[in-house]
């Protein structure tokens, strides 16, 4: 019989947005002010120490894509509405489009490029391939990063929970059934 979920899709989008918004508040440090109005941020990206001096308007998403050439993280809306830009900051999933780089001094960032263990795919990456959890692939890095965090948070226990917790990541190709199957499989392998 069908599960009737309690949380609405709007509720879910709100939760994801809220998670992103709390990062700046929690991380505290505002970053060192550079002479030209730019800020210098020192952080760890996929395990490597990185220092960037940027315009304070730069988001984490644009910093990854345009400054660090980590283009695996995608921009689908730039407004926190689609989840394509999901990365991990200090182990929590955030939408990087709503995260200003200047707030991340001292933070540790993991992107899709940092998920695999060398040439060995992460169980989620492998499961997405096996269950065809994508078509065009544009939402896929965000889906996988969200799923990894959801599983790590101890969520994704039931199909209904996966569907709710993954509802901040839109897939217009609508590969949702494959994504669900992939998360189910990887959940077992990751625990």
């Amino acid at each position: 019989m069908t599960q009737y979920e309690g949380i609405t899709r709007r509720g879910m989008l709100g939760l994801v947005g809220a998670a992103a918004a709390t990062v700046p508040l929690d991380s505290g440090a505002a970053g060192a002010q550079a002479a030209s109005g730019e800020v210098t941020v020192r952080m760890t990206v996929n395990g490597s120490a990185t220092s960037l001096t940027v315009d304070p308007r730069v988001t984490l998403l644009d910093a990854l894509r345009e400054r660090l050439q980590l283009t695996g993280t995608k921009k689908g809306c730039d407004r926190g509405q689609c989840g394509a830009c999901t990365v991990h900051v200090d182990g929590r999933r955030v939408v990087s489009c709503l995260t200003l780089l200047a707030t991340l001094d001292g933070a540790s960032v993991t992107t899709i490029e940092g998920l695999a263990d060398g040439d060995r795919l992460h169980p989620l990456q492998q499961a997405f391939i096996e269950h065809d959890g994508f078509q065009c692939g544009f939402c896929t890095p965000g889906q996988i990063m969200s799923a990894a965090a959801v599983i790590a948070e101890g969520g994704a226990r039931t199909d209904a929970e996966i569907r709710e917790q993954m509802s901040g990541n839109i897939c217009r190709c609508s590969a949702y059934p494959g994504i669900l199957a992939a998360i189910r499989q990887a959940r077992t392998e990751m625990r």
Partner: protein, 727 residues
């Protein structure tokens, strides 16, 4: 012995790149010296730009140039193509709200974006025509009529029918919402342009860009190896990409233009809003005597795709002696329209299948039985037989898998707590279209065979289709094939990824190219003096599973090529439909069965489950086929329950963001049971595949609407079916 991969569960060959974030999309290229562009769009619905103040933008840090109608980038006018009928910045006319009126280029994305916000414009405003409902009947564009001998008009046929049904339905604009916003990276090296830009038809797009920039076609190469969704919105070239290429030419440096999500809603075409009326005349037992389908579709003054929702639906679906399809177009001052997945078939079949459900209710005939009573074995207007049609089997298998016999016809008769449960069904059909197509097969001395066609994989699985068909044809494992698409520099004749035609058209071309490449390999083996087969008659040499064999010797092609000192041997072939094809009507078919629940108190509609069975000819890759079919069914959930962008009187879209324009999310997606009959189409090609990228969307919304009626007794005619309409 290699097992044929055809029809099996094959992983996408582009999967590893996509799950690791290493597949490059248009905005992921970063040529040396790259600068960033940002659009400025009109903020009035119609009129003229009197003047623009660009001084603050030009003075902003990092700004390199500001282009406007008063300082334009040269572009030629479009000629003969459908789509936008003007070139941006070439005049001061404002045709719709959101039209491009400026382009700002700066050294960083942030600086370009913020400088664009500093540009202001003065307008002379004229009232816009935006309401389809108020416009009245449009101009007839596509009339199809067939009347039985002695019948004077469709109205007469309807009037003399014992049972008549009149159903009017409407839907607002729809947006494709491909997850990748439109992006272009344009790089000139001397007079040669390379454009990285998502495109469904790379060669057509490259030709359009060349024509609009006024350069030789050979000077433009378009690369779209990975594209974040198409759904129709990437079949034409829009003004934004042209401006990006023109700016790169003017500034002599690479330019990247990525539209914001909000800009995509107006700078890129949408599915036209449309209003339709179906009139059915039937016997008391439900057999049709007459079918009339009228439509009024939005056609923007700025150009667009013509919405003709009756032609491939009501004119094909059922046997009836009298048919009239009147498709009218209404000129409005709205952003351009464009084809969107099952462009006319999705709205058209929603109308027809809703009316058929009403006829079932009125006559008391079971909806499946009603459709069987009106089963067409030939095109009801032209009289051509269908090439291959097993829709009756789809109904039977689908009803069985779904448990249709458990449905009760009386609305509100099944409940689960506070939820009203309803079941509905609808039939689907979509034209199968084979175009001439070309492909190249190349034996390489690294031991792989490159199979290429200048089509595009917008998520449809074209890469994998080439690999599977190539592997099957050459008796090699799928991993031995290197598939290539998404580059206009591949051999001419790649088909565009639209009309569900890539697989239908390209499979025969790949087969032909592989056969020709084998021939070429054999020829080179007997011709090349360094070859162990030198001097043999070609007929005595045979190719088998990657090996060349003759006189008891057997050499794999990699060794052979290396021994001969030849890096590769290749062939390009083109394959076109047989002349005999014209005597058939080619269509895919399907039957959707769906269960919904509607909350008794809140009116919230949710889809519980779907079962859909399709007759799509021979399937190349089960995994990709399932993805296309289920994905499209989920689009039907959007069509039925979520998607609408109403336009306001001033020409502004009311829902031009992803927070306001709702598409199905994971939590909207129920269990979906998709099944296909494995029946190759004997007339479409030797292989027998018909494209299946769109049919899943056709009528899935109608099945939901019919189930909602069964649950509640409420028939919603104006989509989407939202809570307010169920209270």
């Amino acid at each position: 012995m290699t097992v044929s991969p055809i029809g099996r569960e094959i992983d996408r060959v582009d999967g590893p790149l996509k799950v690791t974030g290493s597949a490059p999309y248009a905005a992921d290229y970063r040529p040396e010296g790259l600068v960033y562009a940002y659009l400025v769009q009109a903020t009035v619905g119609r009129g003229t730009v009197r003047g623009m103040d660009v001084s603050r933008a030009e003075a902003a840090p990092g700004v390199i140039a500001v282009f406007t109608p008063f300082h334009p980038l040269p572009l030629k006018s479009p000629s003969g193509e459908s789509g936008e009928n003007y070139s941006a910045l070439q005049d001061t006319a404002v045709r719709f709200r959101g039209q491009i009126i400026g382009l700002v280029v700066a050294d960083t994305f942030e600086r370009a974006r913020d400088a664009a916000a500093l540009v202001s414009a003065d307008y002379t405003v004229t009232p816009s025509r935006t309401s389809l409902a108020d416009a009245g009947p449009g101009v007839p564009q596509g009339l199809v009529q067939k009347l039985a001998p002695g019948v004077s008009s469709i109205d007469a046929a309807l009037a003399s029918s014992p049972v008549t049904i009149t159903t009017s339905v409407s839907q607002h604009a729809h947006h494709h919402i491909a997850m990748e916003p439109h992006a272009t990276t344009a790089v000139w090296v001397d007079d040669q342009l390379t454009v990285y830009c998502g495109a469904q038809s790379p060669q057509r797009a490259a030709a359009t860009i060349a024509a609009r920039l006024g350069v030789e076609p050979a000077k433009v190469r378009l690369i779209c190896r990975y594209t974040g969704g198409g759904f129709g919105q990437r079949s034409p070239v829009w003004n934004e990409a042209l401006l990006c290429a023109a700016a790169a030419r003017a500034l002599r440096r690479p330019v990247k233009l990525v539209l914001s999500r909000e800009q995509v809603f107006t700078a890129i075409g949408h599915r036209a809003a449309v209003r339709q009326t179906i009139r059915l005349g039937a016997e008391a037992d439900g057999r049709l005597r007459a079918l009339s389908h009228d439509s009024d579709g939005e056609l923007p003054a700025a150009g667009g795709w013509q919405m003709m929702p009756g032609r491939d639906t009501s004119a094909v679906a059922y046997r009836t002696p009298n048919i009239r399809i009147d498709q009218r177009l209404v000129t409005l001052d709205t952003p351009p329209t464009w084809s969107m997945r099952a462009p006319a078939e999705a709205p058209g079949m929603f109308a027809l299948e809703t009316a058929m459900d009403e006829l079932a209710v009125r006559t008391g005939v079971d909806p499946v039985e009603l459709r069987l009573r009106n089963y067409a074995t030939e095109d009801p207007v032209e009289g051509h037989p269908f090439s291959s049609k097993y829709l009756d089997e789809c109904y039977r298998v689908g009803a069985e898998r779904f448990g249709w016999s458990r449905r009760t016809a009386l609305p509100r008769s099944q409940t689960d707590g506070d939820w009203l449960i309803g079941m509905g069904m609808a039939s689907a059909l979509y034209p199968a279209w084979r175009q001439p197509a070309s492909a190249r097969a190349r034996f390489r001395d690294d031991g792989r065979v490159a199979v290429a066609s200048a089509t595009s994989d917008v998520g449809t699985g074209a890469f994998t289709m080439l690999a599977v068909v190539g592997a099957d044809e050459l008796g090699l494992p799928v991993s031995s094939i290197a598939a290539e698409v998404g580059d206009s520099a591949l051999p001419p004749g790649g088909v565009g990824a639209y009309g569900s035609s890539v697989t239908t058209s390209t499979v025969p071309a790949v087969q032909a190219a592989c056969r020709a490449a084998v021939k070429a390999l054999v020829q080179s083996a007997v011709d090349n003096p360094r070859s162990p087969f030198a001097g043999l008659a070609p007929a005595t040499v045979r190719y088998r599973q990657g090996r060349i064999e003759a006189n008891g010797r057997s050499v794999d092609f990699r060794t052979l090529l290396r021994t001969m000192g030849v890096p590769h041997v290749e062939a390009v072939s083109t394959s076109a439909p047989d002349k005999s094809a014209s005597q058939y009507k080619f269509h895919c078919f399907g039957a959707h069965f769906c269960e919904v629940r509607v909350h008794r108190l809140t009116g919230e509609p949710r889809v519980n489950r779907f079962t859909s069975v399709f007759d799509v000819g021979r399937v190349v890759n089960a995994k990709a086929a399932r993805g296309q079919l289920t994905g499209a069914i989920i689009w039907g959930i959007g069509h039925a329950l979520l998607e609408a962008d109403p336009i306001e009187p001033d020409g502004r879209f009311a829902a031009a963001s992803m927070a306001d324009y709702l598409v199905p999310v994971h939590a909207d997606t129920p269990e979906i049971d998709v099944h296909w009959l494995d029946r190759p189409d004997p007339h479409i090609s030797e292989f027998g595949a018909r494209g299946l990228g769109e049919i899943g969307l056709v009528s899935s919304a109608a099945a939901i609407g019919n189930a909602v009626f069964n649950a509640t007794g409420i028939r919603v005619h104006d989509l989407p079916i939202t809570i307010d309409k169920l209270l």
